[in-house]
Structures are given as C-alpha cells and as structure tokens.
C-alpha cells in the first residue's frame, strides 16, 4: 500500500487545474477581457470628466470585477462533472473540503489573479491614483478569493443541472453584495482621505470565515449534486 500524502495530492490537483486552464487560454481570457471592456467603456459612454471618473472608479472597477468573477465561475466544476473527474475526487481517501480548497485556489490563480494584475491599469484609466489605488489592490486581493470561495458553493449546488446558469447568478449574487459594499466603500474612503481599516478588516474577516467554511459547504453540495 502506497498512498501519497495529502499535501502531495493537494498540490497535484492544484497543478493539474492550473495546467488545464493554461491549455485552454481562450476560456482564461474571456472574463479578463470582459472586465477590461466593461471598465474601459465607461469613460466612452459618459462624460469623461476626470473628477467624475475618479468618483465612480471604485464602484465601476468592483462591479466589473464581480461580474467577471461570476462569468468565470461556471467553469470551476463543469468539466470535472462532465468527465467524471469529480467522482474520482470523491472516491479518494482525502478530506473532500481540502481537495475543494485546492480547486478553488487553482481557479482563483487563473481567474482572480489576472483581474488583480490588470486593475492598476484600469485604475489609471479612471484617474484613480496614489493611496486609493493601493487600497483598490488590497481590496481586490482580499475580495476576489472571497468571490471564488462563495461562488464555489453556488457552482457545486447547480453543477448537476443542465442549465444552472441563471440559478447560479441568483444564488450567488446576494452573497456577493456585502463584498462589493465593503470593498468599494474602502476605496471610496481612501479617495476621501478617510480611514479604511474598518472595511479592509471586515473583508479580511469574511475571507478567513470563507476559507474555513465555504469548502465544507461546497463539499456537501458536491456530494448532493453527484448522488
């Protein structure tokens, strides 16, 4: 008997998911392009006054990031469900919530992290500079993993349905709203020169809570979807 350690299996799963995503670059680029386009269209669609753009920047960037994250959600478990890889994941001796965490981490690396990397560019486009941009990046760094973790629960619940897309949005969107409020609020406060520690601390607390609890809920939902 030669069962590999949990850490070995965890990283193997993470590596495989990242590798699969990198081999299907088209899927990878889709949410990112969506994010860039949505934000870039705002200055064109309305009065390109720098002061106005600066005011709406936190909301626009965060709404764009949130919708892009939602667009990418569906792919988290879909192909694994279709080709039986999810079944095989359930049939391993390892705790399913931890394997789920590996999948969510891989998903965030290929969909969340790119959003974070292009955000400074979009922030400049909307005339968001200095400390506000730093806070924007901090809020995205805390917020996008949160979106992936919360989204995973919704995806796991709807993956067994043929057309779960609409249901997924309805399930997940209300849970995304607090993230949006705190994150955009933090950036807005930074622009106004007010304290942001409160909002960022809230985002951090939510992230800690989600890391601990969302994989458990996702694992339970996956078991139901595969029954």
């Amino acid at each position: 008997m030669n069962t590999p350690s949990l850490a070995h299996a965890w990283f193997a799963l993470l590596r495989r998911d990242v590798m699969l995503a990198l081999r299907q670059r088209g899927q990878l680029a889709n949410p990112l392009l969506f994010f860039v386009l949505v934000v870039a269209l705002f200055p064109l669609g309305m009065n390109p006054d720098p002061a106005l753009l600066r005011n709406i920047a936190p909301g626009v960037i965060w709404v764009g990031a949130l919708l892009a994250a939602m667009l990418a959600l569906e792919s988290m478990f879909r192909s694994d469900f279709d080709d039986g890889a999810l079944e095989q994941m359930l049939l391993t001796p390892y705790p399913l919530p931890l394997l789920v965490l590996a999948k969510v981490a891989a998903h965030w690396l290929v969909t969340g992290l790119p959003l974070l990397l292009v955000a400074p560019l979009l922030a400049l486009l909307l005339n968001l500079e200095g400390e506000a941009m730093v806070i924007l990046l901090a809020s995205l760094a805390l917020g996008t993993p949160l979106l992936s973790l919360i989204g995973a629960i919704g995806v796991a619940l709807t993956v067994g349905l043929r057309r779960g897309g609409v249901l997924l949005s309805l399930l997940v969107l209300p849970l995304y709203v607090p993230v949006l409020i705190f994150a955009a609020g933090a950036v807005g406060n930074a622009q106004a020169g007010m304290a942001v520690t409160g909002q960022l601390a809230f985002l951090g607390a939510l992230l800690a809570l989600a890391v601990a609890l969302a994989p458990l809920a996702t694992a339970a939902a996956l078991r139901i979807s595969l029954d």
Partner: protein, 210 residues
C-alpha cells in the same frame, strides 16, 4: 469468519430514482479472489448499483459493508481499497495519457510495481500516443487510458462499469487477463457487462438485475 470479514458485502440494497424503485433486496457477498458480474437490461440500475457500492449514491435501504464495517463509518479506509472506472473515468481531454495517469497515481496511490509508462505499454497504447492530448485519441484508446489506472493501483477492489465498451477483441482479452491476474492475487472485482466474460480459473458470481 476471517474471509467473510475481508470482503465486500451488500445487504438488502434498494435504490429509488424519481419515485421509481430501480432495484431492491440486492444482497451478495464477495470474497477475496472472486469476481462479481452484474447483468441486466439497459436502465435496470447497474450503474446506480455500482455507484452505491462506491459510496457515491446513498441507498434507499440496506447497506454496503467492507470487511464487515459499513463503508460510511470509515470511508477513507474503504477508498484506499477501491478503484472505480465508470463510463466517464475522469480522463482529462486536454492532458496526455501519461499526464492523466501520473495525476491518477498522485490522487489514488500506486503499488510501486508499475510505473505509468509501463502501465500504458501493458495496456497496449502505442508509444507515440503518450504525448498527444486524449481528445485526439479514439474512444477505445481513451478507454485503455482509463483502464491503465488499474495497473498502477494497489487497491483490492475494482469496480468497473462496462469496461469492455469500445474495446477491440485484443483489448477485451487484455481486460479479461487483467481481471484474472487481479483475482489470482486475491483481489476482488465487480463488473457490469453485456458480453460473456471469459474468466476461466477465477470464481465468478453472477447477479441478474431487473
């Protein structure tokens, strides 16, 4: 008693799907070195029975026992003893056969006897196929990749859903010889098949559903 406690047993299993009873009162006892062949018409619940034996589907009644224990009580121990190859075997289309096998070994464990390369060779996949993505392989070749996992694994219980689908004559012969070797080593297998399976020399139980 010891042989009884070693194997897989089902007690009065029943399964319902969409208000319809697929099967009920399915009981059997599989001991070391035995193969259980499940037969029945399409839609009679063979796959559901296999998924129930794996612990993926919860039975409406009855229980599945491994070594005398309900599999739900100590699932991790049961999972290390189990390989399940279903209709969709978790083969990733974008990965090469070798990458698929290396990943399966990382998640499912290996017996240390056979390397992934040797397993692919034994299963009869041409050498040049090792480095092309599985989506470019034929259905039969993909099935061979899925079945190559059996060679790597040290699990004592194989649960195979229609392992002969899409395989040519030599492929079927190969799977039969794998099953015979597995049984000779003291392993157990549960197999669904529409074909007559030649497992001369092994103890074969048959179960008819429907």
């Amino acid at each position: 008693m010891s042989t009884v406690a070693e194997g897989l047993s089902a007690e009065a299993l029943a399964c319902r799907r969409a208000e319809r009873t697929l099967f009920r009162d399915v009981s059997f006892m599989l001991r070391s070195g035995e193969v259980l062949q499940i037969e029945g018409p399409n839609g009679c619940g063979k796959t559901t029975l296999l998924r129930t034996l794996c612990g993926l589907t919860r039975p409406a009644a009855g229980c599945v026992r491994w070594a005398g224990e309900d599999i739900r009580d100590n699932y991790a121990a049961y999972a290390t003893e189990l390989v399940y190859v279903g209709h969709h075997a978790g083969i990733k289309e974008e990965l090469t056969p070798l990458e698929n096998l290396v990943f399966a070994a990382a998640l499912g464990g290996t017996n240390g006897r056979v390397t992934p390369e040797q397993a692919l060779q034994r299963i009869g996949l041409p050498f040049e196929c090792e480095d092309i993505p599985c989506r470019k392989l034929s259905a039969g070749q993909r099935r061979r990749v899925a079945l190559a996992r059996l060679l790597l694994s040290s699990s004592r219980l194989w649960i195979l859903d229609e392992p002969f689908t899409a395989l040519d004559v030599s492929g079927r012969g190969l799977v039969e010889s794998l099953l015979r070797e597995h049984a000779a080593r003291g392993g157990m297998a549960v197999v669904t098949s529409h074909h007559a399976v030649d497992l001369a020399g092994s103890t074969v139980q048959q179960l008819y559903l429907g």
